[in-house]
């Protein structure tokens, strides 16, 4: 069997993960840690509230946790005054596309020179799996026990909306539904930081991440749900790339 990812000891410190079994957030954290450990100076991280805040203790760099949904503007304020540092906001779909949609939208419109990693698990997971802006039509949640209906509107294509803005230099959606998918998360994050270094504008990586706990599935079913359902509504791939920055050498030659 081919090993696609090794646990990284520093990412596990100071104590074990708080993520549920089958959660994709640990994979994102490992990918991020792997990218960062090749940097001379790690980025500064601003982490949102939600299940993402379980990542704060493990971030491979300095971290500040901010109010729910506002992390992108917090990160922008820092970056404006420390333009030579890499700055990364890590948010969930609830904060980024729901509560903080206005801040996210205008951060993108201004083309802030930061990287945003959005972990999209389609529910407000930290509070127990309620309806989110990203919940698929028909999907039952604790606040839509009969499934998301027409009265709730369709899931929000937020990354597509942001991709229309010239301030967004790079936007890619990746999915944790296979070993290859996990590898692509790493590659997309590396590319996003390269874009930030180039000063081209905002770089965003949206990660479709399984939440077996609140989807009421086992881990394998959750991966399948992403492949068969989530990706039909939220297609993966590069939505926009206004740069000519190549992926880092480390990534070249892998897959695809």
């Amino acid at each position: 069997m081919k090993v696609v990812a090794e646990p990284i000891a520093e990412a596990l410190a100071p104590h074990g993960f708080d993520f549920c079994p089958g959660c994709g957030y640990g994979s994102v954290l490992l990918a991020l840690t792997d990218v960062v450990r090749e940097m001379q100076e790690p980025p500064v991280f601003m982490v949102d509230i939600g299940c993402v805040d379980f990542m704060t203790a493990h971030m491979p760099g300095d971290v500040l946790m901010g109010p729910h949904g506002r992390t992108s503007v917090l990160a922008s304020g820092y970056k404006r005054m420390q333009p030579h540092r890499l700055v990364c906001a890590v948010q969930g779909d609830g904060g980024f596309m729901g509560l903080g949609a206005a801040e996210s939208l205008h951060t993108a419109a201004r083309g802030e020179q930061i990287t945003i990693i959005v972990l999209n698990n389609g529910v407000l997971a930290d509070t127990g799996g309620q309806l989110a802006a990203t919940t698929l039509a028909g999907k039952a949640t604790s606040t839509t026990p009969d499934g998301r209906g027409p009265q709730h509107g369709p899931p929000l294509p937020f990354l597509e909306m942001l991709s229309l803005l010239s301030g967004v230099a790079f936007a890619e959606r990746v999915a944790i539904d296979s070993a290859l998918g996990v590898r692509r998360v790493r590659r997309a994050i590396a590319k996003a930081f390269e874009v930030q270094r180039s000063g081209a504008g905002l770089s965003i990586v949206e990660v479709l991440s399984p939440c077996p706990t609140h989807w009421r599935m086992d881990s394998v079913q959750a991966w399948e749900y992403i492949t068969q359902s989530v990706r039909t509504v939220y297609p993966t791939g590069v939505l926009v790339d206004r740069t000519r920055v190549e992926a880092t050498a480390h990534d070249q030659g892998h897959d695809e």
Partner: protein
């Protein structure tokens, strides 16, 4: 003490413009804001003067973004500020709870009060008192609140707000009002000063800037560790209450017939009204809180001790009066107020105080009209 003495250039402009001159003098390098009457000209002055002085200004999509950008800039080590009205302060409250209360970042917010709930009035008010002095957001936290009475003091206290914010690692509110915002007066501020970034100690791998929280595992319910953090905050606020409370007393020395308690623009009106009240034969003084939090309870108590009657004056239904109550240990004898965004003339102010005095002391009622 009332004001810091500046040695810089003499200028003549509105209070709102003076705020930005003061911010530049204080070495503020970052401003983010959203327009709201009566604080809009502060944002506009920043847009004019910040780039010219090699500083950063961001006109944001709203108050929420503005205060978060200010927090981000502060985390980057620079003096940073915004300006708004109580309406905008409502929107900023969440962030202030996070960044002043929890993360303990320094920052300054100038709040120019207009009266009323909701959209309210465009005229002056003092009904943002409770909002500002009680820690406007959720949770146990306080911010230092400074209340200038004129444009010079608005400038001086804006400079001092940055020093206090750095000293105690919290946000300082400069609580003005619509009159202070638009009044044009002569003032003196120092020349713009550069201020290098301070070192910010992040807690590496801890999720929070607070070093105590490094080892806290919330999910394991380490409430004892969190209580230690709470105790430290409690001590910090107690130290501020002990060391920073400030008031100014003017008028007749004790014993007196009437003590007026007022702050901000209304205190200035009260100060001018003192002579008109005195002409009718009353011995009168004014005690003016300069810090609203911490409230200068001792200064108010000792001033009230020498007075037959204590009258509180506010442009609200009565907010500071509760702090005066606590300071003097009883309900103040009289309360005069104006609502709707209207401030009194000095004559009207004097008449209302005398009216109240006559009701309270019919045996010593003052006759005659205020001239």
């Amino acid at each position: 003490m009332s004001t810091v003495t500046s040695t810089g250039t003499k200028r003549f402009a509105s209070g709102n413009e003076a705020v930005i001159d003061a911010a530049l003098a204080a070495g503020c390098h970052f401003f983010a804001g959203y327009p709201v009457t009566p604080a809009t000209e502060i944002l506009e002055a920043a847009a004019e003067k910040f780039p010219a002085n090699n500083r950063v200004i961001v006109p944001t999509e709203g108050e929420v973004a503005a205060i978060h950008m200010v927090a981000g800039a502060s985390l980057a080590g620079y003096r940073a500020m915004t300006a708004t009205a109580p309406l905008g302060l409502s929107l900023m409250s969440e962030a202030l709870s996070f960044f002043s209360g929890m993360t303990e970042l320094p920052g300054v917010v100038v709040v120019q009060q207009r009266w009323g709930p909701g959209d309210g009035s465009l005229g002056p008010g003092q009904d943002g008192y409770n909002q500002a002095t009680r820690g406007c957001g959720h949770g146990d936290f306080k911010m230092i609140v400074l209340a200038p009475k004129n444009v010079q003091e608005l400038a001086d206290l804006t400079v001092e707000a940055f020093d206090l914010a750095d000293r105690y690692s919290l946000f300082v509110l400069v609580l003005g009002d619509q009159l202070l915002a638009i009044a044009s007066e002569q003032y003196v501020v120092d020349e713009p000063a550069e201020r290098p970034a301070r070192d910010v100690e992040f807690g590496r791998n801890n999720g929070l800037v607070l070093p105590e929280l490094v080892a806290v595992d919330e999910t394991a319910g380490d409430f004892a560790a969190l209580e230690r953090v709470g105790r430290r905050w409690e001590q910090k606020y107690a130290a501020i209450e002990r060391d920073e409370a400030r008031a100014e007393r003017c008028g007749d020395p004790g014993p007196i017939d009437v003590l007026i308690v007022a702050y901000g623009s209304l205190a200035r009106i009260a100060e001018y009204a003192l002579s008109q009240i005195r002409e009718l034969g009353l011995r009168v003084a004014l005690v003016r809180p300069i810090t609203l939090w911490p409230f200068p309870a001792e200064a108010v108590r000792s001033a009230a001790h020498d007075s037959a009657v204590v009258v509180v004056a506010e442009l609200s239904m009565g907010q500071m009066i509760d702090d005066v109550d606590r300071a003097i240990g009883r309900r103040p004898d009289g309360f005069v107020n104006w609502l709707g965004g209207r401030a009194p003339s000095t004559e009207e102010f004097a008449e209302r105080v005398i009216e109240r005095y006559n009701e309270l002391k019919p045996d010593h009622a003052m006759k005659g009209a205020v001239t």
